[in-house]
């Protein structure tokens, strides 16, 4: 794993000049595109290349919600908290889901099964509240239905 990340990061970095931190966000995007996320090892490599500290890179990266810091799960859960879903109890559903799989939005479960994200609208408000797992939308969800649904995924 480490060797792979080190080599993909290096291939990205080769395109950027040394010690020029103005390219930081471009580099982060390119690394995330290849690795799916920003690993601590990749951040070390970037910091060496640009001569900036890891804290600086992490500070910049955490400001933007596009950057992830852990590998994605095998299945990605997106829970909608848009207006309609919120009114229909999306918040309640979200809390139940978070305690069920023991992660907060932006994280991946320890066994690597699920990752969780909050989204603002999935475009099917009539079916609220909705949850999207991988690319399938589950409509009119309840806590019990959601629990059953999760058990179907390996």
């Amino acid at each position: 794993m480490y060797v792979k990340i080190a080599s993909t990061t290096q291939s990205v970095l080769n395109k950027f000049p040394l010690k020029d931190k103005s390219n930081l966000i471009q580099i982060l995007q390119a690394v995330q595109e290849k690795d799916d996320y920003l690993s601590p090892e990749a951040v070390v490599r970037i910091s060496e290349h640009l001569s900036v500290s890891r804290s600086y890179i992490y500070g910049v990266a955490t400001f933007y919600s596009q950057f992830k810091f852990g590998p994605p799960g095998r299945h990605s859960i997106r829970i909608c908290l848009g207006t309609a879903c919120h009114v229909q109890g999306g918040d309640f559903l979200s809390n139940a889901l978070q305690s069920e799989i023991d992660i907060t939005p932006g994280e991946t479960t320890e066994d690597g099964k699920f990752d969780l994200e909050r989204v603002a609208c999935l475009g099917c408000c009539a079916l609220a509240p909705v949850v999207m797992i991988d690319n399938i939308i589950y409509s009119r969800m309840s806590v019990i239905k959601l629990k059953e649904m999760l058990d179907r995924y390996e």
């Binding site: 001569s51 500290s53 890891r54 804290s55 992490y58 500070g59």
Partner: protein, 789 residues
């Protein structure tokens, strides 16, 4: 404060006319005129931030409420600093800040009674109010609540529930108390260039932190403590004086740990040091200090293992005795070892006064020239060469480092050995100064250089020679021809191969050096402790002379200990009498013989290593050590061995008498720093009752041995004696020649592969030879981890 032009402009503050320099901002103008505006994020010397929104003011013809710290003054500006509207706005802002900070005590009706009666409620896991906070009484929020008369916070408490970090060396972090003023982040990045702290996340989840939430050690913190000093709340708090109460006295003195000799301010309460930091009520102590100056003084002075009674070894055991008994016992023993069998090793952290009396005792009472300092350099001539250099080119001032256009650093581990000089180098780098960094191993300095030359170990001299030959390429003239001739044998390409660096790297360095108008050369331990130190020194000197204008170029010698140069100046050198007078010079020998009223022994003395090595060959029979030296089984061969130190150490098992000594904070004196400036130190706290300064011990001993000239009452008398006998103003009439020094080509021998451990082999963390990493746990943690590499 940046002043654009020398011009002054006229402004009106609260209806009163003032004239202030152009280019400063409104807040600085009010500070100049001593008008108070509340602020939480502003700090002198840092870029204005405008984060806390408390310094809002009203300015005529300007919309809204601009922040004073980000608004530059312009001519005829009319500023109102206080009005009912501003007060409401500031109160509202502070209430919002407080809603994320445990404020219960701040607005509690019973807070006065509470502070009076609840003394024991403090040491708690989480801070829920002022009475449970280490910074109670030294908190800017408390001051502002008082100033803005806030009696109620209408917002609900938003407790962030962040786990406080208590596993860092030296300081604790509790970001629940953080108000995100950004002072620590800005000082870490702007002033120190350590880049350990950053704002992570965003919006209301923003906190100050490190990458992936790792500890400060892992993030590469250098533990300079600047963030501790500037924090307006209890969010970052120093472990040492944490629950010891508020300081009642501030004393400004000089740090002796390295040659920079920074001014440090020590806050104490009664006879106890609370911390080293800004003065009471202030938040920054410019200039900056480093881990040793900030955290070590209190820890060594109040160390639990400190010895505070004289000891005599009887039957293999240490017995506590009175000073009188110890002095008489030592004096009667020393009587038997007068002459060349006596040796004395002094501490380069002790003052000029101490070291002067040390050598006076050795030369006058013991009739021996075997005097040296604990951490003497492998080649004892180097310090004399440095002194001669100083007489030719007066030493460089630390404040001028940033004015150089090129800095050539060779063989230095500055971030550990001289962090404050490293700090200036980093600032210079950020301002566009060209930095050439040449070292056998990579260290932190290389991130602040566009020209890093990592050469094979032991290659300092060869590198200097190829740089010299590069500089000589375009030079003509009789003298340079001679130099060229001496370097004729040198093959540029094969030399580069031997050093493992590319020719183009060397050439670009040569170009930078020869184009430079104000070159600064920093010579670290790679040069000064290297095998070919004298030749490297000569090469550096020639390099300076090859500059277009050598007078604009300087070499800075990064000597380690605070008073190494000063100790040698006071005469603690086997070859040198006080004032760098050579012992083989008949005139100076006579002068000092006359002064000391004795015919001085003219046998050249032994250096530290020579003394230790001669023990087994019946050379040295009695030794007096001030501090600690590395353990050596040969020491058991000594017939009489006296140690004066703060702690019992590895060599104490060979000692016969042990005298407890004072630390540098418990006595007055002088040191000579890297700028060759005489720096005065003050007594900060009283020394423990039964400890004596080295000069006091020796004057008692000399009196017990019935010697004249040691009836000293105070250290000022010693300084006066030294001042009348030597030239402490360092004015020199003799102008040594500025001729090229001969160059000797020495075949390059590759030394063993350098490891990171080797780079830490020379221990910069010691005080009077005592290893700080065995004495202080937190220093052990950081040296073991190697963060300060």
């Amino acid at each position: 404060m940046k002043v654009k032009t020398g011009k002054n402009i006229s402004i009106k503050i609260d209806g009163e006319k003032f004239s202030v320099p152009d280019g400063i901002n409104v807040l600085e103008a009010t500070l100049l005129k001593k008008i108070y505006i509340p602020t939480l994020c502003y700090l002198e010397n840092l870029q204005p931030y405008g984060g806390c929104r408390l310094c809002v003011v009203e300015i005529k013809n300007m919309r809204g409420y601009p922040t004073a710290c980000t608004t530059p003054v312009v001519n005829k500006m009319e500023i109102t600093t206080d009005s009912p509207g501003l007060k409401t706005l500031r109160r509202e802002t502070l209430e919002l800040i407080l809603s994320e900070h445990p404020y219960t005590c701040l607005v509690c009706k019973d807070k006065n009674d509470c502070t009076e009666f609840m003394h024991s409620t403090r040491k708690v896991g989480t801070t829920t109010g002022c009475n449970f906070c280490a910074s109670n009484g030294d908190c800017e929020l408390q001051d502002l609540v008082g100033y803005l008369e806030i009696s109620d916070v209408k917002y609900p408490i938003a407790y962030r529930g962040i786990e406080p970090e208590r596993n860092n060396p030296f300081y604790d972090l509790d970001y629940n108390l953080c108000i995100l003023c950004g002072r620590c982040v800005r000082i870490c990045n702007e002033e120190r260039n350590s880049e350990v702290l950053a704002f992570t996340q965003r919006g209301n989840t923003t906190i100050v932190g490190t990458a992936f939430g790792e500890s400060q050690i892992e993030a590469g913190c250098e533990f300079c403590g600047a963030c501790v000093d500037v924090c307006p709340t209890g969010s970052i708090s120093e472990k040492m004086g944490k629950w010891a109460g508020l300081p009642d006295k501030s004393t400004e003195t000089t740090c002796v740990f390295c040659q920079v000799g920074c001014t440090i301010n020590i806050n104490s309460r009664g006879n106890r040091i609370i911390n080293v930091g800004p003065k009471i009520g202030k938040r920054m102590n410019p200039p900056q200090i480093c881990v040793r100056g900030k955290f070590v003084p209190g820890d060594i002075v109040h160390h639990p293992d400190r010895i505070t009674t004289p000891l005599i070894k009887k039957g293999g055991k240490w017995i506590e005795v009175s000073w009188k008994e110890a002095i008489n016992y030592t004096a009667s023993n020393l009587e038997r070892y007068r002459g060349n069998q006596f040796g004395m090793i002094g501490s380069p952290h002790d003052y000029l006064e101490d070291n002067y009396i040390l050598q006076k005792f050795a030369r006058k009472v013991m009739r021996s020239n075997n005097v040296d300092l604990l951490s003497s350099y492998p080649n004892k001539e180097i310090i004399e060469k440095i002194d001669k250099y100083y007489n030719t080119f007066p030493p460089f001032e630390i404040d001028s480092i940033e004015n150089s256009d090129t800095i050539f650093i060779i063989g230095s581990n500055g971030s550990i050995s001289h962090p404050i000089i490293e700090n200036r180098i980093r600032k210079a780098f950020r301002n566009g100064t060209e930095i050439i960094f040449a070292n056998p191993y990579d260290n932190r300095t290389s991130s602040f250089s566009h020209n890093t030359l990592i050469f094979s170990d032991g290659g300092e001299l060869l590198l200097l020679h190829i740089i010299l030959s590069g500089l000589l390429r375009n030079k003509n003239g009789e003298k340079t021809e001679n130099l060229k001739l001496q370097l004729k044998e040198l093959n540029f390409n094969s030399a580069c191969n031997q050093l493992g660096i590319s020719g183009s790297q060397v050439n670009s360095a040569v170009k930078l050096i020869s184009d430079s108008k104000k070159l600064l050369i920093l010579a670290g331990d790679g040069i000064l402790r290297g095998a070919n130190c004298i030749d490297s020194f000569d090469a550096l000197f020639n390099l300076q002379l090859l500059q277009k204008n050598p007078d604009n170029c300087r070499i800075m010698f990064l000597l380690s200990e605070g008073n190494y140069y000063g100790g040698t100046f006071a005469g603690m050198n086997p070859d040198l009498l006080p004032g760098f007078a050579r012992i083989d010079n008949k005139k100076s020998l006579k002068k000092w013989s006359d002064h000391l009223k004795i015919k001085l022994n003219n046998t050249p003395g032994l250096s530290r290593n020579e003394m230790i090595n001669s023990i087994s060959k019946d050379g040295i029979e009695a030794l007096f050590v001030f501090g600690d030296i590395p353990g050596n089984p040969d020491l058991s061969g000594l017939k009489f061995f006296v140690q004066q130190n703060m702690f019992l150490t590895g060599i104490s098992k060979y000692a016969h008498v042990f005298f407890p000594t004072t630390s540098f904070l418990e006595t007055r004196g002088h040191i000579i720093n890297i700028e060759r400036k005489l720096k005065k130190t003050k007594q900060v706290i009283k020394a423990p009752e039964d400890t004596r300064t080295p000069w006091k011990t020796l004057s008692l001993l000399a009196q017990a041995m019935l010697e004249e000239g040691f009836q000293i009452k105070k250290s000022e008398d010693i300084f006066q004696e030294l001042k009348t006998q030597t030239d402490l103003s360092f004015s020199t009439n003799e102008k040594p020649g500025k001729n090229y020094l001969p160059v000797k080509l020495i075949p390059f021998k590759k030394e063993k592969e350098h490891t990171e451990k080797d780079s830490l082999e020379y221990n910069y963390f010691h005080y009077s030879g005592n290893n700080l990493s065995t004495l202080i746990d937190d220093i052990k943690t950081i040296t073991e981890y190697g963060v300060l590499k």
